[in-house]
Structures are given as C-alpha cells and as structure tokens.
Amino acid sequence: MPKTRQAISSMGIHAILFSYMVLALWPIFLTIINSFKTRKAIFRDPMGLPGLDTFSLKGFNKVLLRSDFELYFMNSITVTVATLVLVLLLGAMAAWALSEYKFKGNKWLGLYLAIGIMIPIRLGSVSLLQLIVNMNLANTLTALVLVYIAQSLPLAIFILSEFMQQIPNDLKEAARCDGVSEYTIFFKVILPLTRPAIATVGVFTLVPVWNDLWFPLILAPSNETQTITLGVQQFIGQYVTDWNAVLASLTLAIVPILIIYILLSRHLIRGITAGAVK
Amino acid sequence: MSDIQLKNIDKAFGKVKVLHDVNMSVTDGEFVVFVGPSGCGKSTLLRVIAGLEQVTAGEIFIDDEQVNDVQPRERGIAMVFQSYALYPHMTVYKNMSFGLKLKRHNKQEIDQRVRKAAETLQLTDYLDRRPAELSGGQRQRVAIGRAIVRHPKVFLFDEPLSNLDAALRVQTRIEIAKLHKKLDATIVYVTHDQVEAMTLADKIVVLNDGRVEQVGAPLELYNSPANIFVAGFIGSPKMNFLKGTVSSIKGDTVEIRLPDDKIMSFEHDTPANEKDTATIGIRPEHLLLAEAGDGLLKAEVDVVERLGDVSYLYCALSDGTPIIASAPGTSLAKTGDTIRLTARTEKIHVFGPDGNAWK
C-alpha cells in the first residue's frame, strides 16, 4: 500500500479508538478530579483540575464522618473474599468430579449445574428471602455469601471443568499408580495445575459480587451489613444535593475496583479471550 | 505467464535481517523451487514476491514492471498456502469464485472458470461441500483450484505438501507436476524437502540464512554443488565430508592429506596454499566397495539399513569420521565388518577453506 494512504487510514483508526477511549474514561476522570474540589469550583469550572485554591477534601470528610464507609468497605471485602474462596474450592471440587469420574448421570448433573449460567438467580428472590428469614439469616453477611456462592458456581464449574479436561491423563494415572488417595490427588496435583483458570474464575466471580446492589438491598439492608455498593447508593440518596459528598463517595467506591483492575487486567482479559474460544 | 526478476533484495524485520542481497530471476513458464532449511528465508522471499511483505531494499519486477509498491491483487499472482487458507463458511464453489466475484467478473465467466478448474482437479463432485467436509488432499486441490481460476501470471506455492501424509504427498506432487505442464504456468514453489525440489523444479534456488547459495537445474546442483552447504543439502543420504589439509602443491596438482594419512591428488585451477584446510566430499551412492588392499578408505560398519534394493552402511573411519556408503541390496556386509571403499575421481568433490568448490 502506498505509504501516505496507509498513514492516513492508520491515523483514522487511532482517531476512532482514541475518541472512544476518551469517552470511556472521561466521566470517571471527571468524577475523581471534582471530588477534590470545593463546591464553588465544581460548578464554576467542572472540567479543570483541582488547583491550589480549589483543592478541598470536604467531601471526603463528610463521607467518612456521616457514614460508616469503612464498615461498608469491610463488609464488601468480607463477602467478596469469602465467596471467592468458597466458590473456587467447591467449584473446583465439583468440576473435578464432573470431568474425571464417569458415573451414571454425570452429564445430567453437569447440565443441571450449567443451567444456572443463563438463568438469573434474582428471579427466585421471593422464596429466597423467605428461606433466609426462616434460617434466621436475615441481615447477615452469611446470607449474602451463601447466595453469591450459588450464583457464581455454575460459571465457575463450567470454566474449571473445561480446563480440567485438558489436564493430560498421564499425570492422573501416574499419581493413581502411586497408590495415592483421590483427595490427595485433587489437592496436591490437580488444584495447583488449575491456577491459570482459577485466576479467570476469580475475576468473573469477584466483579459481579462486589458490584451487586440487589441482594444487599433485599437480604441485608441493615446498616451493619451494608456493602459498599448499597452504602454508596443509600448515602447518595440521602445527600443528593451535597455534591462534594456525593462525588467523594463515588470516588471512594471507584478507587478499590480501579486498583484491582489495573493489577489483574491481564488475567481478566486473558480469561475472557480464552473462554470465548469455545 | 510471465517472468520475475529480483534485484538486490534485502529484508529485515526490525533489526533482524532475514534476506541478504538476493538476486535471481524466473523465466516465463519456469518451475522454480526455493529450498533450504527452516528459517532460511524462503517463505519470506515468496511473500515478498507476493506483496504480503515489503522489501527493505532492492527491486522486484514482474513482466519488466517494477512492483515494489504494487498491492498483491494488482501483481497478477495467486498463492497456495501451506494450511490451504480456505474460507470455512463458504462452499468449494464459493471459495474458488471469491476472488473473481470481487473483481466483478460476470456470473457466466465465473461459472465457466470454476467448473473448468474443478474438472482439472477432479473436484466437480465437491463443489457444494464445505472445507470441513473434505479430506486434506481435497482441500489442497481446492486451494490450487482457487489459484487457477484467477488465471494469474505467476503461481506461488508455500510448502503446500507439508500438511499431507507421505503417500498423499507423492501423489499430489505428481499432480502438481502435471498441472505445470498442462497450464504452462510460471510457478515459484517453496519447500524444505529437497526431494520435492529435485523432482519438481526446472531450476532450484538454494537458500541458507537469507542468502542464495546456488541457483541451477536439479542435476547441476547434484553434480556440481557450488559449496559445502549445497553439497550437503541436496541428495539423500547426505554427502560424506572428510576434512583434510593441503600437503603440497606441485604446479597444477594439489595433494591433500586425509585424517588417516592417505593422500589424494587433484588437478585444479583455484589458487591454494599449503596447510589450507580442504574438505573432500563423496556421495554415499558414489562410494564403491573395493577389493581388499585396494581402496581409498578403510572403515568399520556400525549399522546396516536394508531397504530391499539398496542397503546403507553407516560406518566410521579409523579417526571416527562417520561415513555412509550405499551397497546393493544383495550385499552381505554386517555390523563389525571392516570394509574398504573407493570412488571414481570425477565423483569426488573438493571444497576449499571457504567452503566453496574447487574446479
């Protein structure tokens, strides 16, 4: 291709990608910079960076004072980490059993567990709430964890069992010939080998759980058990005219996810691109 | 059909230079094969001719027209890929007619060309099938058919037989040879298999590390290799190489001392100095079993491979240099035997210290 024509189309491509990237980032950027400005500055010059005379932490102070932000944050972490660990463990165990052992009904069980990928768990909320109340788990983080585990297992099991099927048979046979118990094989041989897939499953589980509004709202809305998503939503609902506070709370909610994302983006993208190869 | 000229082609990927000053030409109707080990640059050279890669320096001419800046589709070439590159969602018919449809040929002409090519390649029954429903050999033929219908000036083949099994490879090789005659086509063909090169080519270009080692007709390369690389690459089993030193020079005659102190003398013109290293090359098929006492080389047999009509004796000289000799199938040689080998003088190649052949 003649060099100039190539350069022009290359510029065009970059122009489109760059514009969209700006469109994607700009609202987030706007929120963060304005959360550090005085109220006047927010309105007078929304798109300017906080300067020496416009810098203000007023919003953050109010958020941390007037709400139990640290509590909500800890709740989110507790729920997310507990869910993650249990989904990985239970999911890997089930995936292993499904992919390795040939028993009657293996295929049906697999299908049964996979249906959950397509059918949203929220639809059963009426009965779910009843169940949680009956189990005396209303307004507990435990309820959230149990529900989130049920929500995340189908996809986790699907991804993990596809991955485990690729483990070469020789490894398993060799371990069995050594007379080792099935549990040892699973924990000492198989589980370490699935580490790449576990990263993928981790990210797919973590994000929906952390960001969920529905179940904290329905099952655990009390102040002690609010997650950060619910906390932000309630806080903003309450302080809707206080722009500093609103922007600050949004920023506080964004930053943890941003950090996690930047650290894990490679894994996440690899996971999505690998999974889509099906 | 057309000719191609390559002048001073250099190609670098970033800092890595892959082709060094390649010069060669293809005449109208010729079947030229680029051959060489993996990584020698033969595929790159082919892609440069196709226009899929740009040269870093040098000029490419097709039909006396410089095509460096011309896009592949305007160069009048068609390419057959190693992996066939068939469009999986299109039928065989659509695969073959795709290029023509893009050029907006009329429907009738397209149909005619496709059916004619299908007939030549015995694909008529498969026109409505998709690539996934075809065998490897059939897919290969579709790939060739796709090239034929475009009536290109030059056909480019990139290791087309590599993905086929051994039997199919031989069969398809013959079909390609027949196709060449039938279409009177100009073909540039890349392979790492020297048997394919020897059997198909009118002219072989041997490449090594991005450089042209030798260009010539198959038998020319076999009988008069220009250097050690070509000598060792062409011919199977590989040519035997014995390292020696020039022991004396007397006028036109040079004497070379071999490791077991045998002396061989040759007439030659290339200037040489005493103490230069020289390499003697003899092909296994040119080594003859000599009568005891006679003979150039004394060797001990390690392994005997019997193929039926011929046996290969893998031997070692007294200093450990491996030697392969071919013997008739009826030979009674066995492991542990000591044999004496000789060869006719005109079949013995001598290579100087720089690896180039001496006349």
């Binding site: 929220r122 009965s127 691109t273 889509a276 | 589709r73």
Partner: protein
C-alpha cells in the same frame, strides 16, 4: 484405572464429597427458590399471611386486570426497548472496536483495550450516578460540552423527561457494557487464522471486503452468544434504574422495566403494599421470557450458525 463407581469395593464417597457441597448450595439457594417462586405464583395471599391456591388467577390478573396489567405491559414494553437499544448500539460499536483492535500491527492495542474496558468493571450504581451528574442541568457539564461543538440547543434534561429517559438510561448502560461484546468479539477475531486474511488479500479484497465477507461471517456465532447474554442481562436489569430513578422508575413509570416492576410488586414501595405471590408471578413471567430467549438461542440460532464454526 479409572474411578468408575462399580470398580470400588467401598462406596466411592470421595465423589460425593467433591460434588455435594456445591450441588447442595446451588440447589438450596438457587434452584429451590426459583421453583418455589413458580409454585408461589399459583397462590394468592391475604393480609394474614395465609396462602390460598389460586391456579392461574395471578397470571390472568397480571395480563388483564387494570390494576396490574397496565404497569406489567408497560414494563415489558420498556424492557424490549431497553434491549433493542442495546442491540442497535452496543453490538455494532463493540464489533467496530473489536475489528479495529484486532488489526495487525496496531500500536497501543493493549492500552486501548484495557482502558476502554474499564467502565465495565465499575458498579452500575456508580455509573448511573456519574452520568446523572454529568447530564444534570444543574451542573451544566454536558451543556457546556455541547456548546463547544455548537449543538447546545439540543440539550435537554433527558433523564428527567418522560419521552427520553428510557433511551438515555439505555445509552448509559450501553456505554458501560460495550466492553464485554468488544472483548468477546475481539477474542473471536483473533481466532481467525492469519492466512485466511492473507488469502483474501491475494484474492483481491480490501480491508472492508475482508471484514464483511470473511471476518463477520466467522464471528456470527460469537455475536449470537453476545446477543443472548445481552438479552438475559437486560431482562434481569434493575440496578441502574433503581439507583438513578428509584423504585418508582419515573418519570411516570417511563423507565420501569421488569426488574423494577418485580421489586415494587414484591417488596412494595410507598403507597403500594408488597405482595409476594404477585411478585412471584412477575418473577415467573420474567423467567418465561428469558427461557424463551435462551431456548431460541440454543435450539435455533446455534444450529443455524454451526456452519460458521471454524
């Protein structure tokens, strides 16, 4: 030696140990509630908490009773509009971005990809609020921007107007989730072998023809998968509307979708008392719609698109 049940002298309890916890939790907290909700939808309740079997009364009420049918059909219609907006805007943009990102020799590809995907990671709640602020006439940010490009007259408080609120919310949702189709289609495009593109170049195709004739057909299965994922997600959506517009999904229910309708029916809101059996009915209707979509995908689309598999 494979662990088939019959081979072992003892019962292979390791298999049960491996499978039981996941299956139990899944069944107890996902399958059972869903089935029980469907069961509940066949009952009515009065204020005392007693349940009376009512057959399909609830369903008939939802679809025809003036008290329920209005909001129900409105929510259903809105949900379809929501979905249509996603299909019309999200998928083409996703395809375009994926096509550009998968071009060979693109500088900064990883950076673009990582940064464009960022909004997808954030909570819908956060996104909703941010856009609410940006589009707010009080702040004036969007008004100022439109002024810069001379389109200030176009500005309206879109989120507050009945006619435009749903579409605006749909676009916000699209803005956030474009990353997912983009990634999935990008992965699918990477899967297309390089020499197919080269073969097409030699056959004489330009970039647009390569995209249209070669790449697009081969990613159709992925596009179908993205579509069904979008369908399920859209008919399950709730968070965005709730956090921007509250449970009443105003103005005047113009942004009410199945998720918010379900929430209000089941939980009650302001003047409306919660009604678990009607809530269960709404949920079952949602389930039905989603199920139809999923079955269509599995049994019709997937079969038709098999020929595009690589």
């Amino acid at each position: 030696m494979s662990a088939v049940g019959g081979r072992f002298k003892r019962f292979p309890h390791h298999m049960v140990v491996f499978l039981a916890p996941a299956t139990i939790i899944y069944t107890l907290f996902m399958v059972y509630p869903l089935l029980d909700s469907i069961r509940l939808s066949l009952y009515t309740t009065d204020g005392t908490g007693a349940f009376h079997f009512a057959g399909l009364t609830n369903y008939i009420a939802i679809m025809t009773d003036p008290l329920w049918a209005g909001p129900f059909w409105n929510a259903l219609k809105n949900n379809f509009i929501f979905f249509t907006m996603h299909m019309l805007v999200q998928n083409p943009i996703g395809i375009m971005l994926a096509a550009l990102l998968s071009l060979p020799k693109l500088a900064g590809r990883t950076t673009y990809r990582t940064l464009i995907f960022m909004p997808t990671m954030l909570s819908v709640v956060i996104i909703g609020f941010i856009w609410q602020l940006i589009l707010s006439p009080l702040w004036g940010v969007s008004e100022t921007l439109l002024d810069h490009i001379g389109l200030v007259d176009l500005f309206q408080p879109w989120l507050g107007q009945e006619a435009t609120a749903l579409v605006t919310l749909s676009l916000i949702s699209v803005w956030q989730f474009v990353g997912i189709p983009m990634m999935l289609i990008y992965a699918a495009m990477l899967n297309i072998p390089e020499d197919l593109t080269e073969g097409a170049i030699i056959d004489g195709a330009n970039h647009w023809e390569i995209f249209w004739h070669i790449k697009l057909p081969l990613i159709l299965p992925t596009i179908a998968m993205v579509s069904i994922l979008t369908f399920v997600a859209n008919f399950n959506a709730f968070d965005l509307i709730y956090s921007v517009k509250g449970a009443l999904a105003g103005p005047d229910f113009s942004t009410d979708i199945m998720g918010t309708f379900f929430y209000r029916t089941f939980f009650g809101f302001q003047l409306q008392l919660g009604n678990p059996t009607m809530g269960a009915t709404v949920a079952t209707m949602m389930f039905g719609v989603i199920l139809v979509g999923v079955l269509f995908y599995l049994f019709v689309l997937q079969r038709k698109l098999r020929r595009y598999a690589l």
